[in-house]
């Protein structure tokens, strides 16, 4: 890939916006919040953030909000992320590596099923035990 100019970036965006119209439903109002405090960074939160963007782009999902926050108080299970999908419980996932990040997009954001083996803190413990929240 040659070094892109701002003008080329602008054109690429216009091209992409025309494509977006058709698939505005998937991922609508979903939010991913990545814990990017010192503890998160040390445990590898940055490649996780990068993987979320890569996989969402791969799946052509353009409208998930991806943001960062500081430490969520769960330093022992970093990297931690929070996923908010309308119609599903808000979940804090812990020990999220790049493979888990991919799984969260495929299973939680797209498949609408919880990734039970990485859930911490939320929702309540009795829900975590159930299989995928089905």
């Amino acid at each position: 890939m040659a070094k892109m100019t701002l003008e080329e970036l602008r054109k690429l965006r216009e091209k992409k916006q025309n494509e977006i119209q058709k698939r505005d439903i998937e991922g609508k109002d979903a939010r991913i919040i990545v814990g990017m405090g010192t503890c998160g960074i040390a445990a590898g939160a940055k490649p996780v953030l990068d993987t979320f963007l890569e996989v969402l782009d791969e799946k052509k999902i353009d409208n998930v909000s991806v943001t960062q926050t500081g430490c969520m108080g769960l330093c022992y299970v970093e990297p931690t992320i929070e996923v908010i999908v309308p119609g599903m419980p808000d979940v804090i996932y812990g020990k999220v590596d790049v493979e888990t990040a991919r799984k969260i997009v495929e299973q939680h954001i797209i498949g609408k099923q919880l990734v039970t083996d990485h859930m911490f803190d939320r929702p309540a413990a009795d829900i975590i035990k159930k299989d995928g929240g089905k």
Partner: protein
């Protein structure tokens, strides 16, 4: 401890955002054997007493997390710089802003690997408290080099606000293309021995 140099960078630039800066300027300049980095912000700054204490890992202003007794960002960085004949300096004035500068000797055996610079810039530019960030990135060898400048306001004027995955994916692609050009120059012009800084952990990171 952090693994890569860019992790330390990400960690401490966040301090500038959290200090309420309306402008943060970052210089990230590499030569074949050294990295020089400077972060200048116009945030709230620190008085002499706090400046004296920030390198103590058991000091924190306690504003973000009320009961916490540790603050590891700056101590980690100064320790890592010390370990490889680097330098570390902090200048600050209350109400004016703070400047942190550091350098690493990249060919030192204890120098951390560089990491993934493009994804660090992405995380910084899209940080929720980042108002304006100007990044001057360069690789100079004495015989020439490559450089680029990133300005958040300019990029947002093209892409719209950095909020959704679609916009961030485009930004990611743009940043990677800038960094790739620099990497290409490195491979064509520098000796093999300096390449170790982009190898093992870089693959893990990707």
């Amino acid at each position: 401890m952090h693994i890569c140099i860019d992790d330390y960078l990400l960690d401490i630039v966040q301090n500038s955002f959290e200090a309420g800066s309306s402008l943060v300027e970052l210089t990230f300049a590499e030569t074949g054997t050294n990295l020089f980095c400077e972060i200048r912000d116009n945030g709230k700054g620190m008085n002499a007493e706090i400046q004296r204490r920030v390198l103590d890992p058991f000091y924190s202003d306690g504003e973000k997390h009320k009961k916490r007794k540790v603050g590891l960002g700056l101590p980690f960085l100064s320790q890592a710089c010390d370990a490889c004949d680097g330098t570390f300096a902090l200048q600050s004035e209350e109400g004016i802003g703070t400047t942190v500068s550091f350098s690493f000797r990249l060919d030192h055996i204890d120098a951390p690997p560089m990491g993934n610079v493009a994804s660090t810039f992405l995380a910084l530019l899209s940080h929720p408290l980042c108002e304006e960030l100007v990044i001057e990135r360069s690789l100079e060898t004495g015989k020439g080099g490559e450089a680029y400048t990133l300005r958040k306001s300019e990029l947002e004027a093209v892409l719209g606000p950095f909020e959704t995955s679609g916009t961030l994916a485009l930004l990611r692609q743009y940043l990677s293309s800038q960094e790739e050009e620099l990497e290409q120059y490195r491979e064509e012009n520098l000796l093999d021995m300096h390449r170790r800084n982009t190898s093992p952990s870089r693959q893990q990171e990707m």
